[in-house]
Symmetry: C2
Subunit: 254 residues, 2 copies
């Protein structure tokens, strides 16, 4: 399978590494409009900054910013290969100029520094023909055991969920760290709790394992916490809103 | 070391199991005001529902509800052993009637069904004498490699942080699950992301690894998400508040 990767950000880099380590996949070329960010890829394969120089391939993998996907895709209308993007929030229609189009969305949080266990990454796939879907299943199967057929509408909702369980969760970790720093407490102490909280919901439904003062309707602890948060601006608002949301969700009265 | 456990809830049960598996610790007795919940403990040691029947021991471990700790402690004023509670939010002063008092607070989320890796649980310790602190360090060391000396004031802040990184985080997981259910998407797909998000902050500061539309100031994704959330009540409010909080925290403009 010959692939051309478009883009050089976190997703492009991580997928490039995963593909490179897999048998049966050849990354023929990496494209990016700026040469500066192609340094890493240049060591391993051909690179280009010109769309006109992009070769023929089985799959064109666009790991690009959401707002340029549609424009770049227009330049692939004459290609016979499958054009896919890797975005959680862009619909398949954004590639409507391409004769064969699909989505290859890895649901994971990538950062440049962290290595990721690719075998654990779920790929959300979408295509307009059964054959192209099979091709994407095949591609996903080479790096991960987990692939799901997900429609554009479902993918939007999945991406929204991901913002709650990843981006917003990480901010709550940041607030926890901030409170610790102000109290001269090592954040270290909270790390096993963070792990176990994530661990618990691998088996059990989060709705079923909710704990804490909100669900216990423990006013005296809630009040004590709000007093501690007095001068912390938005953190107090977050505490109040999430406490109320937990109680509404679980049918308790504030 | 002879210990008497007071209480029969999650914390009491988990500590009982951990102590029972450790060398050098003998659980002499378990007390609870109601006999019904003593069934499990009765199979392993002596139990009682009468405070007057509580024997002598090195440590009285009160794994009780926050609001009864102070009252129960008053009945231990004549004991020469060390009286400790296991609460994150109750000050050491709540045991002021006892001649020797301390805190033995395991910072972990316990649920009846889940087994916990005790060696990973951080214990937050407090006592009024160096000798008693040493005794608690010794006790913690028998089941975990992690013990910290934490003052009552620090412990309150730590408990507050724990509400953010555990209880509130779990509710965000529940919202993610709810969105998936409504979209007929398997929640399964999000589980590797949940693990990796918790995993990332074991090494890196959460403030440094924040990702997502809020920190990218990606208005079109944020607006699309808010439209998707239109009819979902508090979830929309949570999305708006946390997006704004991330931007304030990281110095971005909404």
């Amino acid at each position: 399978m010959e692939i051309i990767v478009l883009g050089s950000g976190n997703v492009a880099t991580h997928l490039f590494k995963a593909f490179s380590a897999s048998e049966g996949i050849r990354i023929k070329q990496v494209f990016n409009h700026s040469a500066a960010s192609l340094g890493f890829f240049k060591k391993h394969t051909e690179v280009t900054t010109e769309i006109s120089e992009i070769a023929e391939a089985d799959i064109y993998l666009m790991a690009l910013k959401d707002d340029v996907i549609s424009d770049v895709a227009k330049k692939f209308s004459n290609k016979s290969g499958l054009v896919v993007h890797t975005s959680g929030s862009v619909a398949l229609d954004a590639l409507s100029g391409c004769s064969r189009r699909g989505v290859f969305y890895p649901l994971q949080t990538f950062s440049k520094e962290n290595d990721v266990d690719y075998s654990e990454i779920p790929f959300c796939l979408e295509a307009t023909s059964e054959e192209d879907l099979k091709l994407l299943r095949n591609l996903a199967g080479k790096i991960s055991g987990k692939a799901y057929e997900i429609s554009s509408q479902q993918r939007k909702k999945l991406h929204l969920s991901a913002v709650f369980v990843c981006n917003f969760v990480n901010h709550l970790y940041a607030i926890g760290e901030q409170i610790c720093q102000k109290g001269e407490i090592p954040f270290e102490i909270l790390k096993p709790l963070i792990s176990e909280t994530a661990n618990k919901v691998q088996q059990a439904s989060p709705a079923r394992v909710q704990t804490g003062p909100a669900i216990r309707n423990d006013h005296s602890t809630i009040d004590a916490h709000l007093r501690l948060l007095d001068s912390s601006g938005e953190n107090k608002e977050i505490y109040t809103l999430l406490t109320s949301a937990i109680q509404t969700f679980h049918g308790k009265k504030l």
